[in-house]
Subunit: 345 residues, 2 copies
């Protein structure tokens, strides 16, 4: 009797198990489907392979495995995630702001960097040196609350257009790098921006453009002051530099904000050299790392510049990359698409 | 024939569906089991209820709903998450470091704050004012790389003991606040520490003690300098203050690091007033917020102090809390357990 019951029980459950097995197989097949290729805008080659090999090494059981909480990846913004030529978007923002401010307060045009900005005379701004640029930034980026400034930055980034591509700057982001950001996050990485750009301007679009939350954006900043005005709290932006997140400032910013050495760094200029040195460490006993430089070699689809450029100069970092085995991306050869609006090539 | 097949198919699958239904029911029952109570170390009352009501309001569909990415909660550390009496652990760390440094370099004892620290003379340190304290911190917290300092901080926090409770400082954390941190995270909040304590010391234990990653700790810091030494990167700690994350510094630190106004703030002293003002905003049209102050009223299980205390003075913030309807936790009445090592009461 017992035997018969068991036999019936097994017989009745059999179709159920077969069904479940079939569902599980279908599910696994979908997950490992070769139809969806990683990093589709990257052509087969050393650059793409070095990324895939690195991610595989640090996420698989083995000597190079890194715990998910230590998988920190840092990205420069200008020239690494979005187009920085022919003029840094942050500087274009300052110029546009200066033009607007002078309408309300013409006396501002007496300041040489503001006068140069209003004329759109980049050579004159450059000729005034760092002091002139800081003065221009102070006039255009301070004297309001952080909330007012966020609104100004947000309005600008939604309206301003890249002079050559005639599209919002946030469309002029590199499709292969967007895929790389996603790919790293899918493998448990926390992705950060570490850029010389003003932190508030970048935070106004980082989430919707890159999927990077404001608190994962490290940038240059001005001093701030908290005060209560008529019982309401506000934070004022002061005309003084707090932090320049460029060159040796980048590893310092990373230490201050993240408190840990990243394991992957992505840049495109000498301004990123210290961040790459800090991340890659030149010491394999400290674990595997990935250093990558985007080399602008594609005048047709974007721009071609390196050792003598005024914008995003890449000279010493290119030599170091070759010496230390960092990955150098040849934009023209390694990317089958630069912008999302390009056709596949 | 077809009918018979269907009938057999249904009959065979029936036990399978019954089994699945039973499993689903059991699973749901476990999830909604009333046996696991939220915030078990909080006694029923206004404080506990105000937390639960707030979390329910901002996480449920309705006028107060807040998207998960905007659910930022900030916690002071000293006196809010761990015991700060009779002496801030950070100051005890500086004193212990001074004693050790003088062994290797006796001439340091010629500096008045170091001499006072070596004697353990708190009154003398206090009498030297902020300048004396800063000098003590400069001597004990700088002059090494960030990696060396992390190791020093980690060694100290694992060995040092609270003078009254004779346990590691990391055991002297408030059990109800640990439950609150978990409870908020379970409801999609991102929890941050925003404290006057040195950022590197807090980061050495924040993950294992509070479940808060190093990059979610904002604290006071010294200036840093990146340099390459024999081809290896290092960051040096300089004897200069970079940022004091106390009082009006707290909202500034939040803006710099997080870039957004939090919706919940937890503190215990006048040092947290600006952070509470910034968070709660005194303006319901800007969305619902929670401000909470831990009032130290329990000399038996912990300490009792407020308006005239040298450590964690709570005076103006207590008045503001009453005026603005922030939650004030009566440690003695609202918590059935202060430390994990207490017995339930």
């Amino acid at each position: 009797m017992k035997l018969i019951c068991w036999s019936r029980f097994v017989k009745n459950l059999l179709p159920c198990f077969l069904l479940l097995t079939l569902l599980l197989c279908l599910n696994n097949a979908a997950l490992s489907s070769p139809a969806v290729k990683d990093l589709p805008s990257w052509r087969e080659g050393h650059a793409r392979q070095s990324i895939i090999d690195f991610v595989k090494a640090v996420t698989s059981a083995g000597p190079d495995f890194v715990k998910p909480e230590d998988r920190i990846a840092v990205f420069d913004n200008d020239g690494t995630l979005w187009c920085e030529a022919p003029i840094y978007p942050q500087l274009q923002f300052a110029i546009d702001r200066a033009k607007q401010l002078v309408v309300d307060k013409p006396s501002l045009a007496e300041l040489p960097p503001v006068a140069a900005a209003v004329k759109g005379d980049l050579a004159a701004i450059t000729a005034l040196g760092p002091k002139g640029t800081l003065e221009l930034l102070a006039v255009t980026h301070s004297g309001m609350t952080t909330e007012q400034f966020s609104q100004i930055a947000d309005d600008w980034i939604r309206k301003a257009q890249h002079p050559r591509f005639k599209r919002p700057y946030t469309d002029c982001v590199y499709q292969p790098m967007l895929e790389l950001l996603s790919y790293l996050r899918q493998h448990g990485f926390k992705t950060y921006i570490v850029s010389g750009g003003g932190v508030e301007l970048m935070r106004s679009f980082s989430q919707r453009t890159y999927g990077i939350a404001p608190e994962q954006v490290i940038g240059s900043s001005c001093k701030l002051r908290f005060e209560m005005v008529d019982g309401k709290p506000q934070i004022l932006r002061l005309p003084e530099v707090q932090f320049v997140d460029d060159r040796e400032g980048k590893p310092v910013g990373i230490q201050e904000f993240i408190g840990r050495r990243p394991i992957a760094a992505f840049g495109n200029s000498d301004g990123d050299l210290a961040m790459l040195q800090f991340t890659c460490c030149n010491d394999r006993s400290r674990g595997r790392s990935l250093g990558l430089i985007v080399h602008h070699t594609d005048a047709e689809r974007e721009y071609a510049y390196d050792r003598v450029s005024m914008v995003g100069r890449l000279d010493k970092a290119l030599d170091e990359a070759k010496k230390l085995g960092w990955t150098v991306v040849d934009m023209k050869g390694d990317w089958n698409r630069v912008f999302a609006f390009d056709h596949d090539q």
